[in-house]
Symmetry: C2
């Protein structure tokens, strides 16, 4: 573990070289936390904060610093889940690290190799099973004692095999400005949990599914969160840093909505575990497929039929409605159609505006995008607290 940690620290070179002396880089792990302090001369931030909802970013030498495990562990079921996994963690983070005085930086501590070993199954040396559940012997050197997912129990049955619970890990770093530059002030970790674990019984075989209940995935996520925090406390500079953990519940592969965070907790004062867990009750519904008998779905249906009657060849009118505690808080509408020209786009956008004002729920942020195979043709957006829609028709 220690050698891996050092490779990791050398990898996040732009974060660390500002303060680290060559001696430090060659091996000693110090515990004074100085490496998380960044010198002022070569780090700045993006000067523009577009909205209170967005963090400004920490910039080093005029360059954006990508995360050290860039893309490596973001293996979610769908693009919808991927976006929701990341924006959801940003939202959770805002409750702990204010956007006013904190800058964000993509994760600099968990590199791709670390994340991948943690996402694997716990795999000791000796007799065991491969990913299909076939018996095999794990040779020395091929073990993975850091795997957070459970050891395979050898069953190929959907309800008897041990599933992969944890699908992806996301890290976000937060810094504050100090007299001498910028200093790490907090870390957020997102754990994307499977609601369905897709698996095969043989190579190139059919796909089977093990379902995982919300209760079970929260329980597993909490246990993994403790292990992760315990390991991160060993990393240089992270001994006392607040670590927020969010448990994200992925939607199945064929869902048109992204998943949601179902629990959040925090480890403070150098604790080796996560406490203060809150259950989060956000849900996303795809209209008109979901939404039951709700007033919102009804309004959306009216909107949809008005828009469709106006314009003959509309190929899709859907919306993603986000609820917190059963209250609608956000709506994202997608209109897809074939246009034959700019005159149509303009007329259609004007009409959609009218119907959006008339039928879509008031007092919540709404985004409406109008696209064709050529990409986005127009869009309308009403931000939080506004009554008018902003409109833009792309030239």
């Amino acid at each position: 573990m220690k050698s891996k940690l050092l490779i990791l620290l050398a990898g996040s070179v732009l974060l660390l070289t500002a303060c680290a002396t060559p001696e430090e880089e060659t091996g000693e792990t110090t515990s004074d936390g100085s490496q998380s302090e960044l010198a002022a001369e070569d780090t700045t931030s993006t000067s523009r904060q577009l909205s209170d909802d967005y963090y400004r970013s920490l910039i080093t030498d005029g360059q954006y610093q990508p995360g050290v495990n860039r893309g490596a562990s973001l293996g979610t079921n769908s693009n919808y889940n991927l976006k929701a996994f990341e924006t959801g963690l940003l939202e959770i983070s805002q409750d702990y690290f204010s956007t006013n005085d904190h800058l964000i930086q993509e994760g600099q501590y968990l590199d791709g190799e670390t994340a991948n070993s943690w996402l694997g199954r716990y795999t000791p040396v000796g007799e065991g099973f491969d990913q299909y559940g076939n018996a095999r012997t794990v040779e020395e050197g091929n073990e993975n004692l850091e795997g957070l997912n459970p050891q395979h129990n050898g069953s190929k049955l959907e309800n008897e095999r041990t599933p992969i619970y944890l699908k992806s890990i996301l890290e976000q770093n937060f810094t504050v400005q100090t007299e001498n530059g910028y200093s790490l002030s907090g870390i957020s970790i997102g754990l994307a949990m499977n609601t369905v674990d897709y698996y095969q019984k043989e190579q190139y075989g059919a796909s089977f599914e093990t379902d995982i209940s919300e209760e079970e995935l929260i329980q597993q996520g909490k246990e993994m969160a403790d292990k992760i925090v315990e390991r991160m406390r060993q990393m240089e500079g992270l001994e006392d840093i607040p670590i927020v953990v969010g448990i994200f519940k992925q939607t199945p592969q064929d869902s048109l909505a992204g998943g949601t965070y179902v629990a959040e907790g925090i480890s403070e004062n150098g604790s080796n575990s996560v406490g203060g867990w809150n259950k989060l009750s956000m849900k996303k519904l795809v209209f008109p497929l979901e939404g039951g008998e709700s007033t919102e779905l009804n309004s959306f249906q009216n909107f949809k039929s008005e828009v469709e009657s106006f314009f003959p060849n509309l190929s899709g009118v859907t919306a993603e409605a986000t609820y917190i505690d059963d209250t609608l808080v956000k709506m994202k509408v997608d209109l897809v159609t074939q246009f034959y020209g700019e005159t149509e786009v303009i007329a259609f956008t004007q009409h959609v505006y009218d119907q959006a004002v008339k039928f879509l729920p008031p007092n919540i942020p709404i985004e409406v995008s109008i696209s064709s195979i050529n990409g986005m043709e127009a869009f309308l957006a009403r931000e939080t607290g506004e009554t008018e829609f902003y409109t833009h028709i792309f030239d």
Copy 2:
């Protein structure tokens, strides 16, 4: 001609049936213009005018009315030309038919069959040449006496053959509200002229090019405009309607910018020809490929290099700059990159905002779109007369 005209009028049924009696539909051409008057009960307009730049649309029975030659004659060299062809005609029309009191409707007079025959070569019965310049005999029934492009002269040589000058025709109708409903008040016709006529010497053969000078294409366009107006004056309801004609100069197939209108004229008071021609001097340059030694290109280069240094893997930073009389009037910037997540998109957008304010020209409308392979990720826009950019990051 007359029988075609009647089919056409029957085709634009929603425009005409409101007033036309069965007697009128079966043949008599009246000249009282009553058929261009639409009854109030079944026509309305989109109630929202998003901007003074946009016309409201004439809506019939709650439905948008597509043009009668929808898509058929819009054969331009590229999507860039297609958009520019249409938006340019909208801009020209605004000088003649104010957006305040005129409603737009897509062309209801020139149907696909008519437009296609007009776009063909003049082809009388008898000895002639096919599209490759090979001799052939045109049988009776296969002639096209309405073709506006010149008869083929049989040469296969780039500078000796008669090229196709006219590539596409676009029609827009304008109406005003009257006591009894809506009444046709004007028509705009766009003629998309080739600067390069791409041709083959044999089927499946290589592509050759005949260049056409601006002077030549304007001359040809003006002559065709007269013929078109003369023909349209024969159509029922168009006897006295003002007809505006714009001559559009297409860019070659490989250009990244759309073409521009080079001349505009009008036929008024039932005249059989177009007069009052104005030369238009709009041009579009693609930065950084074009733009010579201009200050604007220099500013754009600074913007580009700041943006690129910030973000390592940017795959494209280009702009389309529109000039009128050598003055920059509009800029459209495209940034294409691969993003690994929402945090990057937000940071990048914030940075682009700063650089746009710092480097891009003030006092003109600017649109900046930021895309990845997943489509548009964010965009910024500053409208005419505004100093701040509107920003939107897509969820």
